[in-house]
């Protein structure tokens, strides 16, 4: 507990150490409460009827585990959340896969091949991240309209793929940078071609980075409200985040229904995180080379 050889052994260090730990603990606990409160509020509210929300508010425990809100929002004739969830998956999975696939290829190229303008190209691509998407809102809206993709999921898929490429390229390029060149050269001599090296040597090594990106992209695209809201209109192409907003009536808000919908909508990202978590292994390349 006490650092040996610090020259100051005894009570003062121990006391300040304990004080530090206590303060840290209190701060972290406070942050945890602040962070978890909305989650708690949503979960308890999702079990309450409109009447119960107006009498007992958002924070009290529900009187019973009433699943009526969940049944209502999932009902195709009411909340229709099932369709919106399906649409969200149809958007999120391809957009994540495309952006990660393209980012991985770009990152590999930038990290492992030297060509004129390599650094400039990298900066150019990553600079895309600093562009606020809002400034392109109207042009993109008009573009999608012109090419006939407005009000289709493809419009949102393309936009999310495009906006995802910079971060995917950045992370993959930096990851590939840490993979020793000697591995590539060893495979070259062993008889692999560039494609073989990428697929058989590099890709298996990138699993931790791919897992991080998959989680990141899935969560980001799934939770995005702006683009589906701008680029889609019909219920048939509505995503779950837009769908939740639609539960709001003109004069009333179905708090219980919205809470239930939010709760259901947050489950896929949770599942994704739990699924990919096991790939978050650090140092998979340990043993490849000495050092």
């Amino acid at each position: 507990m006490i650092r040996v050889g610090s020259g100051k052994v005894g009570k003062p260090i121990k006391w300040s150490y304990l004080l530090g730990r206590t303060v840290l603990f209190i701060v972290l606990t406070a942050l945890l409460i602040v962070f978890m409160l909305p989650v708690y509020g949503v979960i308890v509210t999702s079990f309450k009827s409109v009447a119960e929300v107006s009498t007992s508010g958002y924070w009290n425990l529900p009187q019973s585990l009433n699943l009526a809100n969940f049944i209502k929002v999932l009902n195709p004739d009411d909340g229709n959340l099932g369709l919106y969830l399906k649409n969200s998956l149809l958007l999120t999975i391809p957009a994540s896969v495309f952006s990660i696939a393209l980012g991985t290829l770009a990152g590999y190229g930038l990290a492992k091949y030297s060509f004129n303008g390599n650094a400039a190209l990298f900066v150019f691509m990553v600079a895309g991240m600093f562009l606020p998407p809002q400034i392109a809102l109207i042009p993109i809206f008009r573009l999608m309209n012109d090419i006939g993709l407005y009000d289709t999921l493809w419009a949102v898929i393309i936009i999310h793929t495009a906006f995802g490429i910079p971060i995917c390229t950045l992370i993959m390029r930096n990851f590939f940078y840490t993979v020793p060149n000697a591995l590539r050269e060893a495979a070259l001599i062993d008889g692999a071609n560039d494609y073989g090296i990428f697929v058989r040597i590099m890709l298996p090594l990138t699993r931790p980075a791919l897992a991080v990106l998959a989680t990141l992209q899935f969560t980001w695209i799934w939770n995005d409200f702006l683009w589906p809201f701008i680029l889609t209109q019909r219920a048939d192409s509505r995503t779950v985040m837009v769908g939740i907003l639609n539960l709001t009536g003109q004069y009333s808000v179905d708090w219980g229904g919205q809470a239930a919908a939010s709760f259901v909508a947050s489950l896929p990202t949770l599942v994704i995180f739990i699924f990919f978590q096991r790939y978050f292994i650090r140092g998979l390349t340990v043993g490849a080379v000495k050092g």
């Binding site: 020793p180 000697a182 591995l183 050269e185 060893a186 495979a187 070259l188 001599i189 062993d190 008889g191 692999a192 071609n193 073989g196 040597i201 298996p204 090594l205 998979l284 390349t285 340990v286 043993g287 490849a288 080379v289 000495k290 050092g291």
Partner: protein, 365 residues
């Protein structure tokens, strides 16, 4: 099996010339070592033979085929890397068989070769392990195994032992030499360690600044270095150099006065009155009272700075003329202490003289 021939090979990176006019014939089954300080171009040359670097100018032939434009995989070579470069997501068996699988070798043939190589390298019990579960020495063996199973025409080894600790390095040195004798495959071995070069090579290429300094057998490099660089690079402790003036058949300075033998004095005829580097190896210097060196008129007066007893011998580090620091290997029982002024004798048969400007060894010029 194959010979490797390099003719007028150049490698330039932009304006930097890494390798210059490299000419070398490596015979079939030879163990050729490239040695030199870092940045001398030895690894670049090896990588050009491997096909990992393009040859700027000149030709490289393996067997009777010029391979300048042949990709690495078709050169029939195998390479062992300094940092092993094992595929971390494959086990030892998969690492060793990767190249064979890519070449669609029949399964039972792969199995036979991997087992055989594993047996030779004593890594049979490790075949199911991943590289990260292996020690440095074991990883090195796997890297060798990966090269062996390919049964290539030429082995290329790029400082394969430099990441191992001293004891393991000596062990592996012997293993690789044994392996070479057993397989008889032409081997090109790069190292910066002159001990490795001397102990392993059938011939050694000494390089400096992209230029070949000398190509010869270990013992010839040691006995007949062509220039001051080779003389100083090969041998440990290194050869001693002192500046002296040629006077007839003697080389003199303030603190030393040595006679040159017939051959050397002939070669020094044009140097009368001029300054040269006098070169002498530590074991060719004797301490007065503790030496069998016959001539007693080759005297070096020196001030002992440090005494290093090693048990089997003692190294005296001494200064001559107040500037040159020389090392003498003397009898371990010699009673000398730091600060003593001693009389050293030089063995006339082993004296070298080098031109002050060209640094060429005049004895063999």
């Amino acid at each position: 099996m194959a010979e490797v021939v390099l003719e007028h090979v150049y490698k330039r990176f932009g304006s930097v010339t890494a390798v210059q006019d490299f000419n070398l014939q490596i015979d079939d089954e030879e163990f050729m070592v490239f040695v030199g300080p870092s940045g001398c171009g030895k690894t670049t040359t090896l990588r050009m033979i491997a096909g990992l670097e393009e040859i700027t100018e000149g030709t490289c032939a393996i067997g009777d085929r010029v391979v300048n434009d042949v990709p690495p995989k078709d050169r029939d070579i195998a390479m062992v890397f300094q940092n092993y470069a094992l595929y971390p997501h494959m086990n030892v068996h998969q690492n060793m068989s990767f190249g064979l699988r890519l070449r669609k070798t029949p399964k039972d043939e792969i199995e036979r070769r991997v087992r055989e190589a594993a047996q030779i390298l004593q890594i049979e019990h490790l075949l199911d392990r991943r590289p990260r579960e292996l020690s440095g020495g074991q990883r090195q063996r796997v890297a060798l195994g990966r090269a062996i199973v390919r049964e290539p025409k030429v082995f290329l080894m790029d400082e394969p032992l430099s990441n191992l600790d001293a004891k393991l390095r000596v062990e592996m040195r012997a293993s690789i030499s044994k392996l070479h004798r057993r397989l008889g495959v032409t081997t090109i071995y790069v190292t910066h360690d002159q001990v490795e070069a001397m102990t392993m090579g059938t011939r050694i290429v000494v390089m400096k600044d992209g230029l070949i300094q000398q190509v010869d057998s270990p013992i010839n490099l040691y006995d007949k270095p062509k220039n001051r660089f080779v003389a100083g690079f090969i041998g440990s402790p290194a050869m001693n150099f002192m500046v002296g003036t040629v006077e007839g058949d003697r080389i003199k300075s303030g603190q030393f006065d040595v006679k040159t033998d017939e051959l050397l004095s002939q070669k020094l005829q044009g140097y009368n009155g001029k300054k040269v580097y006098l070169g002498i190896r530590p074991e060719n210097i004797g301490l007065e009272g503790y030496t069998t060196i016959p001539e007693r008129d080759n005297v070096i007066q020196a001030n002992v700075d440090v005494v290093e007893p090693l048990g089997a011998e003692t190294h005296l580090i001494a200064s001559v003329d107040g500037e040159a620091s020389i090392v003498a290997r003397v009898d371990p029982h010699a009673e000398v202490r730091a600060g003593d002024k001693v009389k050293l004798f030089a063995d006339v048969k082993f004296l070298h003289a080098f031109d002050l400007d060209t640094e060429v060894n005049l004895r063999f010029s």
